[in-house]
Symmetry: C2
Subunit: 233 residues, 2 copies
């Protein structure tokens, strides 16, 4: 038996208890900017009430409980903080640089999108506040890096995936969908180009109905096509 194998067979076996593990969540919602009134990306943060980083804002999260799967842990801490139970909750990345925390902590980060109709503030904790994602100050740990990573992922992914779904009600108009893309990307999109591009992706289909009680040309409603029914190239 070689030293090589003596080290290797440790994989997935008892680890020295020297690295701690946390699960945190970045939750994005679209709400009007307090000054411009334009919809923009917000996220909830939690004020730390203990060292390190006492008094600074941080992402909602906590240590992984032995009885919880990773996504369950993310959903639990999110629900405790914000009262939200997002439909879209996905693993983002594991952040584990040696210097990201005074103790050695690896944080597995999930991200969630919530639609306007889910975005209540009922059971929000007293140390929780929502912020405009592009205007947060210095966060605890490496959480600014994490938020920036999540924003980049959101802005990239919305151009090639049906992720806008997470911000919309099940049925929506093309103008509402375009508005979500514009709010995420922070720029205007040409309506005709947007319509052509979105319809060519095969992500959405008309429901066959239109907005009720609208004017003489009520806009058509669309829905996202579930992955298993999509014709992907």
């Amino acid at each position: 038996m070689t030293l090589i194998d003596g080290q290797l067979e440790q994989a997935d076996n008892a680890t020295p208890a020297s690295v701690d593990l946390a699960v945190s969540t970045v939750v994005f919602a679209l709400r009007p900017h307090p000054i411009t009134g334009e919809d923009t990306i917000w996220l909830p943060l939690v004020r730390r009430i203990r060292e390190p980083f006492l008094g600074q804002w941080a992402l909602p999260g906590g240590p992984l409980a032995p009885e919880d799967d990773l996504a369950a842990s993310a959903a639990k801490s999110l629900n405790r903080t914000t009262g939200l139970k997002p439909r879209y909750l996905e693993q983002l990345y594991a952040f584990g640089n040696v210097n990201r925390s005074p103790d050695r902590v690896v944080s597995i980060v999930y991200w969630a999108l919530v639609r306007a109709s889910e975005d209540t503030r009922e059971s929000i904790g007293e140390n929780v506040e929502w912020f405009v994602a592009d205007e947060i100050g210095q966060l605890a740990f490496d959480h600014n890096d994490i938020v920036n990573y999540a924003l980049t992922r959101l802005r990239t992914k919305i151009t090639w995936s049906p992720i806008a779904h997470g911000f919309l009600d099940p049925e929506f108009t093309l103008a509402q969908l375009r508005s979500v893309h514009e709010s995420v990307l922070g720029r205007q999109l040409d309506p005709a180009n947007f319509r052509r591009q979105l319809l060519s992706t095969g992500f959405i289909e008309p429901t066959g109905t239109s907005v009720q009680g609208a004017s003489h040309r009520p806009p058509a409603l669309y829905r996202f096509i579930p992955r298993e029914k999509r014709n992907e190239p």
Copy 2:
């Protein structure tokens, strides 16, 4: 202070030492299939020499050392096993289901692609073997799930990203690039369509030179355009 906040502020702070952390790596290389002779996807596995799963094959990896960043840990265990130092090494996913191991272990998995010219077997451990990725038996832990996840990611990502780069020398012909795509996808691709699609992605550019010493129509050489020089939509 509420119980809500009392729990929340634990994020990224001292975790109870009840969940262990490992880093494992899926390494893909293209080599001829032993029966068909067609290039196909291979990966190295390590035979376990201790319980649990004594004698079964598992991904290379090990516990995260406190002094190592995540990617450094993946690179180290990979180098110990296979002698490889892949240029492409990326975080794949964190696997943390409660029942994936007798102990509670979360495994952060990296994946790597190695090109034929890197793919030496010099310093391979005695309990390490390469397998055809689609023909592995029952692995330890949830490592079959991990390998399948990585294969799906590879086969999806190659259709919309310049990931084939990881399997190729810096300069290559379109036929070599198409061969990589065909080996990964396991099916033939139409040369004219492939050429048109690849050139439209903006990932590659002609080097201006051709294969030396070839016939009367030497094929042109291409290279991948670095991300920072690419014109992405």
